[in-house]
Amino acid sequence: MHIDWFVFFAQIVNFLILVFLLKWLLYGRIIKAMDEREAKIASTYEEAIAMRQHAHDSGELYDKRLLELQEKTDEMMHKAASDAETHRRELMSKAREEVDQIRQRWIEAVAREKTSFLNHLKQRAGKEVYAAASRILKDLADADMEKSIIKIFTQRIEALDNQESAAIREAIRTSESGVFVQSAFEIPENLRPEINRIIRSYGASEKAIQYETMPEIVSGIELRTDGYKLAWSLNDYLETLEDSFSHAIQEGMRERA
């Protein structure tokens, strides 16, 4: 076994040439490419981390805003519900007030109608009672109704107690306009002196006594001066009748309701 020294040195040279060529063609280029790729991957990775962080931040911001929006929505919904409830109560209150007003107006209208009807009935009943009573009195006693009324009136004036006598005297004394004897019918002249006598007994002068016919009194007679009134008429009885009618009407309304 021998060594060819030319080949030996040639192989060394060959090897050195190969080292330099591979260093130039292979290692340098490959390592450069690898390093650049590593740097690129590292930068891409850093970029990805930054983007991920950014996405995470954005996500958190979005969640926060979503939460705020939800809170705001809840608040608005709560406020809307509260406003709606308030508005509903106001409307209910207003509606109740309107209903109450309508009811009140209706009640007032009914009351007015009742009053009007009762007034009408009272007048009508008074007239009828008066007419019937007059006819009955005429038929039974052959007496003049008006005379009876005057008689009862004069008896009542004479039968006044001390307190009322004092009151009527004081009224007549202080009166400036005089004493009025008002009746539903014309008092006959022949009966007037008797009435005048009785009134004068309370301090009135003959001239101050004046007679007036007032159809609305229905049937009866009244003594009126400033601040005092003494009356007897069918109104008293008619008022009793009115109370009975009013009671009957209310009963009827309750039954209808």
Binding site: M1, H2, I3, D4, W5, F6, V7, F8, F9, A10, Q11, I12, N14, F15, L16, I17, L18, V19, F20, L21, L22, K23, L25, L26, Y27, R29, I30, I31, K32, A33, M34, E36, R37, K40, I41
Partner: protein, 233 residues
């Protein structure tokens, strides 16, 4: 198609052309062939290198090889690999390809010549002090030969020579003997068994390339690191 006869130990004996002391034999021719394949292949792959994430399979192949060699060097040297990569990497790639191509009929591995392995071993023998001197300076490097005392100087020198000789003979012996075994087996049992032996030959070739380059790196690293350790002391 046999280049070498069974009685030829080395491809050096296959001489194609000779003029005076200049001899062109099979060792040189097949060395040039391996060199040409390496250089042209590297040029073809690296002329269009991609720096993007997507790149060619050939580039990937070369990157894996270069990356693995770098990693091995880094593990042994405990420092940057790029300084040693051209020398160690070329040793490994050249020996590896020279050995693996032995499966091609008509090819003779240049590493089965003691001339080639001796040339490579001498290259290592020269490279070790060069790297050491480059790293630490000539004074510091040669001081190592006299440690712990000057008595050890001859042993250091003998060690250097003996390990260089071992490098050369180990590679030559393995490859040459394997080729001879294959040739003998082909004569004795022409079917199947030589195929298995060829496969084993690929493994041996790869291992020998690895051993040669790793040992070269270990020698370089031990030289530089030993100097560093003493420098630290």
């Amino acid at each position: 198609m046999e280049i070498m006869t069974i009685d030829m130990i080395s491809p050096d004996q296959v001489i194609y052309w000779q003029w005076k002391f200049i001899t062109i034999n099979a060792t040189l021719v097949y060395t040039w062939l391996v060199m040409a394949i390496l250089i042209v292949g590297s040029w073809l792959v690296t002329r269009k290198l991609s720096k993007e994430i997507r790149f060619s399979r050939w580039q990937n192949f070369l990157e894996v090889i270069v990356g693995s060699i770098r990693e091995e060097i880094r593990e042994i040297s405990k420092e940057g690999a790029d300084h040693y990569l051209p020398f160690i990497g070329t040793l490994f790639i050249f020996i590896c390809l020279a050995n693996l191509m032995a499966v091609i009929p008509g090819y003779v591995a240049p590493t089965s010549s003691l001339t080639t392995t001796a040339a490579l071993a001498v290259s290592v023998f020269i490279a070790v002090p060069l790297y050491g001197i480059t790293k630490q300076g000539a004074r510091e490097y040669f001081k190592e030969y006299f440690r712990p005392t000057f008595i050890f100087f001859p042993f250091h020198v003998m060690g250097e020579f003996s390990r260089t000789l071992a490098l050369a003979v180990r590679l030559f012996g393995n490859i040459m003997s394997h080729e001879k075994v294959i040739a003998i087996l082909l004569a004795v049992t022409p079917l199947f068994f030589p195929v298995v032996m060829q496969a084993l030959g690929l493994l041996i070739g790869l291992i020998q390339a690895y051993i040669f380059s790793i040992l070269a790196m270990v020698y370089i690293a031990s030289a530089t690191q030993a100097h560093e350790e003493h420098a630290q002391e």
